[in-house]
Symmetry: C2
Subunit: 458 residues, 2 copies
Amino acid sequence: MALQTVITELSTFLGQRVTRSKSDLELHGRSETHFPLMPPDAVAYPESTEEVARIVRCCAQHRVPVIGWGVGTSLEGQAQSPQGGVCVDFSRMNRILEVHQADMDVTLQPGVTREALNEDLRATGLFFPVDPGANATLGGMAATRASGTTAVRYGTMRQNVLALEVVTASGETIRTGSRARKSSSGYDLTGLFVGSEGTLGLITELTLRLQGRPEAVASAVCAFPGVKNAVAAVIDTIQVGLPMARIELVDVASVKAVNAYSGSELAEAPHLLLEFHGSEASVAEQSETFGAIAETHGGAGFEWATKAEDRTALWAMRHNAYHAIKATRPDAKVLVTDICVPISTLAQVIEETRMDLEEAGIHGPIVGHVGDGNFHTSLMFDEGDKDQVKAVKAASHRMVERALAFGGTVTGEHGVGLGKLSYMDEEHGAGWAMMGSIKQALDPDNIMNPGKLVPPRN
Amino acid sequence: MALQTVITELSTFLGQRVTRSKSDLELHGRSETHFPLMPPDAVAYPESTEEVARIVRCCAQHRVPVIGWGVGTSLEGQAQSPQGGVCVDFSRMNRILEVHQADMDVTLQPGVTREALNEDLRATGLFFPVDPGANATLGGMAATRASGTTAVRYGTMRQNVLALEVVTASGETIRTGSRARKSSSGYDLTGLFVGSEGTLGLITELTLRLQGRPEAVASAVCAFPGVKNAVAAVIDTIQVGLPMARIELVDVASVKAVNAYSGSELAEAPHLLLEFHGSEASVAEQSETFGAIAETHGGAGFEWATKAEDRTALWAMRHNAYHAIKATRPDAKVLVTDICVPISTLAQVIEETRMDLEEAGIHGPIVGHVGDGNFHTSLMFDEGDKDQVKAVKAASHRMVERALAFGGTVTGEHGVGLGKLSYMDEEHGAGWAMMGSIKQALDPDNIMNPGKLVPPRN
C-alpha cells in the first residue's frame, strides 16, 4: 500500500521517469559478481537535487527504502535491493558543472563516469586519477570509497573528494566541505559520507581534486622468481620514496590467463607492472632506480616503455585481467574478494592464500595493488556444484580471517555491501556498534539502503 | 557534590595523580592566544588507557565534563574548560609503542610530541612530516586536525592518521582503522575522531603514517613585487606538478618583523620560502623549474640552499615568525586567526585583508601556507584599549566572512574551539545540525569537552 502511494506520488513530478517495468527492475537488481537478483520495487530517474530530495521525502513519509544506483559496477551488492524499495538511478544527473583550472578541482553531478570526466578534462591538462578499473560513476565511487591502481600515488576517494552535496534521510539537502584544500572546521562530514554506501544519504553533487597531467609517463614490467621477491622490491621502492603512480602484482595464474586472453607473451612468473609520472628526467631516474632495486630482488626482463601505445597495451592487459580470468572458465561463476594488509605481511598472506586455494582445489588467480598491501582473488566455481560453492565460500572466509589475523582489513576497496557484512563485528567490535549509533541518529527509520553496512536493527 | 565524589573516586586509583592545586588548574585553564583563563576543577594524569577509561566512566556516571590536554598549544581555546570538569593531561602517556619500518608506520600514545617522535625515528631513516610549528602532542594534533607548512606535500593529520584507540563518552574503549593503508570497511570513524576536538571521546593511542627521509633537501627563498605575483607563481608551480614539500608566504610586515628578530636581511617585499624533497637530481630539477616560474612572475633574488645549516636557519626564521611578530609589540595581546580559501582567490583575499587592516589601523602581519590557500594574521592589540579590542574583533570577523564569501572555510588548521564556534552555523548550515546529531548520539550527556564545536543543547 505504502509503496503504491509512493509511486503514484513520484509519478506526479517524475512522470515516465519512475518505472516498474520488469526489465528495469531486473537491471537494477543484478550484481557484477555472484549475488542473486534482488530487484527494487521501482526505479526513479531524477534530473536534479530537488527531485532527489522530493523522492526521499516521499519515501521517508511512507518508510519505503531508498537505494542509490550509479552504473551497477560495485562488487559486494551495494546497489542491490534486498528489501525492495525505490532505486534512485543517477544516470540523468551526469553534468559536469564547473571546472576550476587554477584550483585544480571540478564540481559535478554523481552520474558522471570517470572516463567521461577525463574525456571532458582532456583540453585542460588536468585529470582525475582514481581508477578502479570499471567505468564507474563518481557518485558511486565516492559512496563506496573506491580506489584502484593509482591509489598508491594519488590516494583513494577519501583523499580526492573535497566537498559533497547530500540529500539526507529526511530529504533535507546539506553541503559538506568546501573548495578550500583543507579545513579544521568541525567534524569531517565529507569523510563520513565517502564510503557510507548510501546508508546515510544520497550524494547529489561532488567536488573533486584534480591533478596536472604529468609531462612524461613511463610504464614498466618486470618478472620475479616469486611473490616474496616482488613484494620485497615494492617495499624497498616505497622506502626510498619513489613516487610510483601504479605498482601492480599479477601472479602466475593471472599471467597465464592474460597471455591467453590478450596474446601477450609474459614469462610464466609473478610480475610487477609499474607506471611512473613526472618530468622526462625524473621518469627516467625513477625507472632506473626501480630497475636497480628489482635486480637486487631477482627481477628479470625489466623493460620500460614511454610510448603511449605500449603503455596503453600494458594497462589494457591489466584492466582486462578480470575478463581474462573469467575467460579461463567461461561457464564458471566468480566470487571476487579483496583484502588489505600491512605491506610487511603481504607476501606471506598472498603465499598462504595461494597454498590454501591449491589445497582446496580452487582456481583463484591473484592480482593486487601491492603498493597499498591490497589484493584480490577471483574464485571460480560451478554454480550447480554445491560442494564447490561451499569450498569457494569457505576459502573466501579463510582469506578474510587471514587479513584480520595479520592486522589488516576485510576489504581494501570493494566495500561492505552484502558480501562483507558478516565480518564487520569481528573487524570493528564496539566500533561497529558506534557506526550503528550514527546510522540510527541520521536515519532513524532505516530507509537509506537498509540491510547494508551497519548492524541490523532490533 | 558530584565533582567532589568524582575526585574522591579518581583518587582511589590515581592517588596524587589527580590534583586541584591552583597552579595546576591555572596552567590547564590558559590559552596560547587571547582567551581568558578558564580552569578545570581538577587535573588527572593517567598512565594507561584503562585509567583514562575509568576516569571517563566515573565522570559519565556523575555527568562531570571531561577535557583532554596535550601541551596546550591549540589556538582557539580547544583545551580550556569553560564549564569546569576534569582535565585529562596526557603527559604521562608518552610512549612510542611500535615502529614498523617496512610498513612505514608508528603506534604511540597521545602524549608523545612531534619533536620527540622525530628524534626517536632519527636512526630509522623515517620521519613524521606534519609540522604545525609548535611542538604539540600527536594526540592533540589528531584531535584538532592540525597541519602546517608541509601539508601541501604530505597532507594534514586527516591523511596521516591510520588508526586510533579511543575512549568513548561512556568509557568504552574502541579501535578505529587498522595498519592497512586503505580500507572500505564501513564508516570512516578514524576520520570522524580526527578534528573532533575531544567532543566525541579521548584518543588514547594513534597509528601514524611515516615518510622516508628524502635523499636530498633544498630550501629556497624568493622575493616578489606583490602578493599577487607570489600567489601566481605558486599556482603555476602546483599546475606543473612540482612536489614542493613546503611553500610559505610571508608578507612585508612579517618580513620586517623577522628581519628585526632574527637579524636576517630579506628585502622588504613579500617572499616565498620553499623546500624541495627528493633525489639529488630531482631536487636540483625542482629548484630550477621553480626558479624559472618565479622569474616569469617577477621573482627576484631567488636563492637555494642545500646545506643543512642554511636550511635550518631559514625554517627557524619561519617558525619564529609568530614570536618575531609578537616582539614588534611586546606589550600587546595577539588575536591569531586563520582561514583557508580556494587558491585562485587567495591573492585577492589577502589583498583585501591587508587593505582592511590598514584602514582599521590594525597591525596584523600575514603569513601563509600558500600552497593550500591557507593564511594567518596576528592581530595585535592593547588589552586595556576597549576600542582597539573591538576593532580587532571586528577585523577578524570580516576576515572570516571574506573566507566564506570566497568559497572557503572559517579555519584551515586552527580549528573551532571557542573562537570559531559562532561561525559554524554560517559555514555549515544544516551540516552543523548534523554534527549536533552525531554528538548527541555518541555523547548523550554532553560530558566530552562541552561548549565546543557543536550547537548548544536545548
